[in-house]
Symmetry: C2
Subunit: 411 residues, 2 copies
């Protein structure tokens, strides 16, 4: 941050919720510029603009065309970039704003959840060379047909990381309303501690586990291309948390944090025939309907069939049910049931790989509190469990304590 | 309207002010489509959106960059097109929306008041061929640099007329909140009558005289390329007023209507030296500052100098004063004064060309009511006078009566 270079800064919707906040963002951007850096800024839509636009659409139709929804939603970020450019001008610096289309953010054709294909940074490089601050609308791009697309949840982070990669930026700063990545949500665990650094892999797990700071997709792209990310508060000058390749110091730590996700529902398909291809068929069709399946659990079969459970974001539940029931019928499986009264609780840490007994310590802590575990799923650096929603916050606190996360072990 | 063809329909901001009205517009568009026509729809921003956006900008800066202002304002129409497409889908017809940039509405680089250079209608033609209703954001385009531009006041009308021309449309329907063109504002003159038809030239004068129905620029383009315009109400199925080449019937009529404009201010430059080039210098510099000067009056000189008066839209008054004072100083003229307490009142009619005594009849009617005339300016088919604002509405009524405009003379 202090050395000179090219910095990409991303400000989310709450950072630009009103003219006063936009002015503060302008000051922050200008300060970075005046330290001698080239600055590219990515902004989201003002505060609740996107929700307001979706509400407007819902007054017209319950099933809006996704192409038209993208057309509508993309205006939110366009408003932000223009206003931020004006605020920067007002403070005496040169700045120029662009839509995703104008800077060649090319995506595939999947409206509302488009994938990035390419970024043509020529125009951005030209404008930087003129000494201008370049402001780019997050969350949006165009497909080959020049139709406007949007990148789905957390899309502005993805825009920022992808631009940082394409521009070979020295750092990508993600400004948010928290001070960085914590060992647990400080609203749930007052003793939660801010981490100075975290690895891409840990952050990837945390993100997919509901840490609202960044979406998994952006971290995945950052990891793949080695883009260093600095998550920090837009309301404070303090350093936040660096997301980067594993450093030696990190490996001292068994568990980096506890996370909680309450917006998922559990879906169970009963009596799935125990033969090859059954699960594949279900999850392929769900993917075709753009349903993101999170946790999948299937136990060993009894009497030639088994129950298959998985979790999805609640908003995807209607589509999930339609697909699951149709597939279940076709493959000769049984009833499909859903349960929205659950929460997912996870611990993440690269240190898990080399330390045994981590799962045991987690489960014991929950057992002492008589919190029942309904599903378990583990990866190399993560353990997730599904519990009743009403016990979830208490579980976060006891696990945080069980791993001593309130004490700093990193230097 | 009833025969099959290609129809361009333009709906202004009040026609799409809220979801209910957007649905009504959708019904109207679909009805035209189902009568066998290809339909291209141009829409403005929802209700007061543009004002709200400008207000947002004004909370950030008093002197917004015009490029960024265009970036900001263009979102208004983009919201409208997406919502109208959704409303049409909801009613079971196929439709697709586009921004100005997407359909290649190319303009020059004058932000906030851009001029149309070209329209590439390939994409529109392709979509029409698929049987789709094509919805295009009015008021906006892009320059060669792909920067978003806007066309200034009445820009959506211009978009519609220019598209009608480029697509060789059979008709361009301008939907508005009035039923057509009247002999005077019905709110001022209850006896005012709707005209079935009016010539481009008369409409051009009326438009430049403050008839809010359409801006002069669009009518100018329509006249130049012979695009027939049908001005009609979005709230009523009745036929409105056709704007077209002069027909024989029209020439029977001496005066077509009386109009009133209250948003202009009078500017006077005192003691302008009576030598060549003085006025030219003033009006060239005003043009360079994009000030539209309306009425210009200069009387014969006395003692080597003369007073020069003209009117401008009140919003342009600060810029006008800066320019006029600077020029006055340079050319050795005197004081520059302004007067916002005036109104302009005009009568328009192709028949004037061949009828004498029209001016006399107008002035006599005003004299009987003891309404003083401060400035007079005439063209071949128009007489305009400047009066005190408080007498203006009364003057409209007496002139309307003096020319018997309440009685239909056309068949």
């Amino acid at each position: 941050m202090s050395r000179r270079g090219l910095i990409v800064q991303k400000f989310g919707g709450s950072s630009v919720a009103n003219p006063e906040r936009i002015k503060r963002v302008a000051e922050r951007v200008i300060a970075t510029k005046r330290r001698g850096n080239d600055v590219v800024v990515v902004v989201s839509a003002l505060g609740d603009t996107t929700d307001a636009l979706i509400d407007l659409a819902s007054q017209i139709t319950q099933q809006p065309s996704e192409r038209e929804l993208d057309m509508l939603m993309a205006t939110g970020e366009q408003v932000s970039v223009a206003l931020l450019a004006m605020a920067i001008h007002e403070l005496g610096e040169d700045a120029v704003s662009f839509t995703g289309a104008q800077v060649g953010i090319l995506t595939d054709g999947t409206h509302t959840k488009a994938r990035l294909v390419d970024i043509n940074v020529n125009r951005v490089v030209q404008e930087l060379a003129k000494g201008r601050i370049v402001i780019i609308a997050g969350f949006q791009g165009v497909n080959l047909n020049q139709d406007i697309t949007t990148l789905g949840r957390g899309g502005s982070d993805l825009t920022a990381v992808a631009l940082a990669k394409a521009l070979k930026a020295d750092e990508c700063e993600i400004f948010t309303d928290v001070e960085g990545i914590f060992t647990a949500d400080p609203r749930l665990v007052p003793q939660a501690r801010k981490l100075d650094a975290i690895s891409y892999d840990e952050m990837l797990e945390l993100a997919s586990l509901g840490a609202q700071v960044m979406q998994a997709r952006s971290i995945f792209v950052a990891k793949r291309f080695g883009v260093p990310i600095h998550v920090r508060s837009s309301f404070s000058p303090r350093e936040g948390t660096m997301i980067q390749e594993t450093s030696k110091a990190m490996e001292d730590m068994v568990v980096s944090g506890v996370s909680l996700q309450k917006d998922e529902a559990k879906v169970t398909v009963r009596d799935v025939p125990d033969k090859p291809g059954m699960a594949a068929q279900l999850f392929r069709e769900l993917a075709e309907h753009h349903v993101n399946v999170d946790m999948i659990v299937q136990n060993v079969s009894r009497e030639g069939s088994t129950d298959l459970s998985f979790t999805v974001i609640k908003g995807d539940l209607p589509a999930t049910l339609r697909v699951a029931r149709s597939v279940s019928h076709r493959i000769g499986a049984g009833e499909v049931t859903t349960d929205e009264g659950v929460a997912k609780l996870s611990i993440v840490g690269i240190g898990m790989r080399s330390h045994s007994g981590v799962a045991a310590r987690m489960f014991e802590a929950m057992a002492r509190e008589r919190i029942n575990i309904e599903m378990i799923s583990t990866s190399e650096i993560k353990i997730s469990v599904i519990v009743r929603k009403q016990h979830a916050e208490r579980a976060v606190r006891v696990i945080h304590k069980a791993f001593g996360l309130e004490k700093s072990r990193r230097r």
